[in-house]
């Protein structure tokens, strides 16, 4: 059974019971009050009737100027009195020695023997309520001494009206209680549905979220509890969405990496395999063709060699322990420039070095050389013939700055953002236009090396062309910083 139904049924039963009990109590209370009042009235009336009968006997005695009336004369007077009463609200009957003398017989209810015995044996007036001929009466009885003889007088007053009123009121209360139960039920149902509506909305939202619609948010309406519930569910949905997006991003990144690696490795392999197969199966190969196919195979093999070399370098940059020493910028850069010389001859490029005097820094010489070599290699690829690559190095009290600027084709903001991703291949052909795979791995490698030196690498490319790569190293940093990298 649903909770709302339980609450509804329980409250409804409770309320109807409460209303009914209160109504009945009031009703019974009122009824017993009116019965008591009627009884009092009947007793008073009984007393006045007794007095009146005594008065009439006295009057009769005076009228006849007798000292005492005889038993028969008394009986006659009593009979007359009773006769006069016939048709009245109160009927009278008289008894002598437990024998009725007179009475409005048909109208007078039968007197219960227990009651009459009580009246005969005791000296006080008694009353009882009896039903007779579909009517209710209050029957009163008492002793009455007339002319020296002991009589008993009974009076019966009709109180049917009180009972019928009570029955009517009872019926009315029942109808009202039923009607009010209906009204209360309707109001409660309406209230429950209105206040539970947000709950079903929240329920619906949760189901939708569970089905994978992670961007859905529950509407925060209704009473405070529901708003809080919806709010918390939204917080939950938010973090689920973030996690899913993050997982998706990682998965996308991995897929992109694998796709790119497959592309980078398989492209040269396809040419090598294809041409080797052609050389094997073709019936006649001219010297010119052989030379062409052979040189393509060699070229593509070199491409693969370079790729595997970079991958190894990257792997060692990440995993090998470093050997730090204090390096003098001037002698360090002159070594780098010599190493980079073969790269320059093709496009007749020049390197201009501007090193601040006395600049020294702490680095792993081999790895840092590899960083600068890769940056210069990228600069060479981006440059056009006879351009100049500028290298600057300077320092302040606690930092050393390196800046390598070329005048080449530059990079778009999107390329800069993604450049350090391994195999950034938003546009796969792009790497080839820039002359090979090195943009794909080279900058990722540089960033990795800079990070292991606790340095920061930035790429910027002004709209007018050229790319500047700047690296900032801290002069002093404890060896404890290094431990977390190794």
């Amino acid at each position: 059974m649903k909770l709302w139904l339980k609450v509804f049924l329980f409250s409804l039963t409770f309320m109807v019971l409460a209303v009914d009990i209160v109504a009945y109590t009031i009703l019974i209370n009122g009824f017993s009050t009116s019965v008591t009042r009627e009884t009092d009235q009947a007793l008073t009336h009984h007393a006045s009737v007794s007095t009146m009968v005594s008065g009439q006997i006295l009057y009769e005695r005076l009228r006849q100027s007798k000292l005492l009336l005889t038993f028969e004369e008394v009986g006659r007077v009593l009979k007359e009195t009773a006769e006069q009463r016939r048709g009245n609200e109160t009927v009278i009957s008289f008894y002598y020695n437990a024998e009725p003398i007179s009475g409005s017989d048909s109208a007078m209810p039968n007197i219960d023997p227990d009651f009459s015995r009580e009246v005969f044996e005791n000296d006080q007036p008694y009353s009882v309520i009896i039903d007779y001929n579909d009517k209710s009466f209050i029957l009163c009885g008492s002793h009455l001494t007339l002319e020296g003889s002991d009589y008993v007088i009974f009076t019966a007053s009709d109180v049917t009206q009180v009972y019928t009123q009570h029955a009517e009121q009872l019926q009315f209360v029942q109808i009202v209680s039923l009607a009010s139960a209906g009204i209360i039920a309707t109001i409660m149902l309406l209230f429950i549905f209105l206040s539970l509506k947000p709950l079903s909305e929240i329920n619906h939202s949760i189901r939708r979220i569970a089905e994978g619609d992670y961007s859905l948010r529950a509407r925060e309406t209704g009473s405070q509890e529901f708003r809080e519930l919806a709010g918390n569910i939204n917080i939950m949905a938010e973090s689920i969405e973030q996690n899913v997006t993050e997982i998706q991003r990682v998965a996308d990144g991995r897929k992109r990496f694998i796709d790119s690696l497959a592309h980078e490795m398989k492209t040269p392999l396809t040419s090598i395999m294809g041409f080797a197969d052609i050389l094997r199966i073709k019936r006649s190969v001219t010297a010119k063709e052989r030379e062409e196919y052979g040189s393509i195979i060699v070229e593509e093999t070199k491409r693969l060699r370079s790729l595997s070399g970079k991958l190894l370098e990257l792997s060692s940059a990440r995993n090998l322990p470093l050997d730090f020493c204090e390096l003098d910028a001037k002698s360090f850069f002159s070594e780098v420039c010599i190493a980079a010389k073969p790269l320059l001859s093709d496009k007749q490029l020049k390197i201009s070095c501007r090193i601040q005097k006395g600049t020294t820094f702490r680095a792993d010489p081999e790895l840092f050389k590899s960083l600068l070599y890769n940056v210069i290699e990228n600069a060479v690829k981006a440059s056009r013939r006879k351009q100049i690559i500028t290298i600057k190095c300077w320092h302040d009290t606690d930092r050393v700055f390196f800046n390598i600027t070329d005048q080449g084709i530059g990079m778009t903001p999107e390329e800069i953002e993604n450049a350090a991703d391994l195999f950034y291949t938003n546009n796969p052909s792009r790497t080839k236009q820039k002359g090979g795979i090195n943009l794909g791995i080279g900058l990722a490698l540089c960033k990795e090396i800079a990070a292991r030196h606790n340095g920061i690498m930035d790429i910027s490319s002004p709209p007018e062309g050229g790319t500047a790569i700047s690296i900032t190293l801290l002069k002093k940093w404890g060896d404890d910083n290094e431990t977390k990298h190794t």
Partner: protein
């Protein structure tokens, strides 16, 4: 003559495919990016398109959607080897999906299959005075019918479809007997000798030491 369009951004691979397909005498055009490829396909009639997926501009998947109305059979060539990529490619209407790297002969064989399936190649082959009707399984030498076993027939057809190309024993085994066939390469030798004898191809269907067999083309095409 069969006309192929090669859409491939790596110039060496494009050159390799070009060289491979010209051995069997197909004419080729090359294109190194997606948008030019769409223009070329819309303006010209090709019998088959070899389409790379990772292309500058628009990628291969987008290209095939744009050229669907032309109804030209397409084979994807891609380094992507995920099943999902293959399914995507084939669902977009490609006839085949070849994962790089591939052997030149395999490429030719799969081009051949697609061309045959799409009725782009003639049902009859001829070599000197031999004519073969592939559909009706009839072989005639100088006008008279020659009886060949089904396997011999397949061997002959395979050589006639690939003139001037060395076919290795493994290649013949996998093509004629299926990849799962566990037989020895002597089976191949026996069948090739039978074909050579029955069709009188001595000196034309030659064995190439350490490699396999080749059916020499007699006149230059």
């Amino acid at each position: 003559m069969i006309h192929l369009l090669i859409v491939e951004d790596d110039k060496n691979i494009a050159r390799m495919i070009d060289t491979a397909v010209s051995i069997v005498g197909y004419r080729t055009s090359c294109c190194d990016n997606g948008s030019d490829a769409v223009d070329m396909i819309m303006d010209n009639d090709y019998d088959l398109i070899l389409l790379d997926i990772m292309l500058p501009g628009i990628d291969g998947f987008a290209v095939i959607q744009k050229i669907q109305s032309r109804g030209i059979p397409t084979i994807f060539l891609s380094a992507l080897q995920d099943v999902s990529d293959k399914v995507k490619g084939l669902r977009l209407g490609a006839e085949d999906y070849i994962v790089k790297p591939f052997e030149a002969v395999e490429l030719l064989a799969r081009i051949e299959v697609v061309l045959r399936r799409t009725d782009k190649v003639p049902k009859t082959l001829s070599y000197e005075d031999i004519t073969v009707n592939i559909e009706r399984h009839i072989v005639k030498k100088a006008g008279t019918a020659v009886t060949l076993t089904p396997k011999e027939f397949d061997v002959l057809v395979f050589f006639m479809q690939n003139p001037d190309i060395v076919l290795t024993r493994e290649r013949l085994l996998s093509k004629i007997w299926g990849y799962t066939y566990q037989g020895e390469s002597r089976t191949v030798d026996t069948h090739v000798q039978q074909v050579r004898r029955k069709m009188d191809l001595k000196g034309k269907l030659v064995s190439v030491p350490k490699l396999g067999y080749r059916l020499n083309r007699t006149k230059r095409v």
